[in-house]
Assembly symmetry: C2
Homo-oligomer: 113 residues x 2
DNA sequence: ACAACGTACAACCATTTGGTTGTATATTAA
DNA sequence: TTAATATACAACCAAATGGTTGTACGTTGT
């Protein structure tokens, strides 16, 4: 029962299901950004952006590092890859379906009575 | 203005941010499944599963085909790939960051005064 | 010392989400 | 024709989400 895994996957997709958070990810993957530097980029309040960063951090998509009074956020590419691998798993399932269809076609053409 | 693109991406990640819907995707990527065949697999009500299927359909992750009184759902691997490519874009941004860091290291070692 | 800055978090609010039950409609089986 | 099956959808509900303002606290600059 890897229900924890599912919890984590829920959190990852949920975190990425918001355009502001995806945009934050683009910035923090490009390099470290302070929370206020990020907040300056969006129309919403500082608190709203701070909460988005917290959601991304909780999901493991970014980490924070203190530097004086600033908190520097940095994107975690391994987490991004773990989401990608979940999608690869889905694609593999689909490949299995295609393989089975191909088999059927092959056996049909040999069973031609 | 690719706001529609972002809407679609929101819907895709949102749709995949639920473990029941991810499980449904595994099944419909493996082959066509009727809504009631899917519903039989989960503890929740038929209506709940039907709504999950509707969410996946709206996001473009599956399509339905009528067959008598049944509605056969089939996973769309292209939609899955489009999510994956969004993640690849993020990974590319990160690669750029690494490349820039490498450049800095290289110039540092030549600028040694 | 004190003002400004950067961050965190609580309280609140409207909307969305994930579930329920109940009803309606079309298709198939008896 | 009538009963059972498969689907869709409305109405409702509790909880989660994405935003707000206000407050508190540590850090930095004057």
């Amino acid at each position: 029962m890897h229900g924890d895994d599912e919890d984590r996957t829920d959190a990852l997709f949920q975190a990425l299901a918001d355009r502001t958070r995806r945009d934050i990810m683009r910035r923090v993957l490009a390099g470290e950004r302070s929370v206020s530097a990020l907040a300056a980029r969006y129309e919403m309040s500082f608190a709203a952006v701070q909460k988005h960063v917290a959601v991304l951090e909780k999901a493991g998509l970014l980490t924070k590092r203190r530097n004086g009074r600033e908190q520097l956020a940095s994107g975690d590419v391994a987490a991004v890859r773990s989401v990608a691998s979940m999608l690869t798993e889905l694609e593999q399932i689909w490949r299995g379906r295609i393989a089975r269809i191909d088999e059927l076609i092959a056996s049909d053409s040999t069973e031609e009575s």
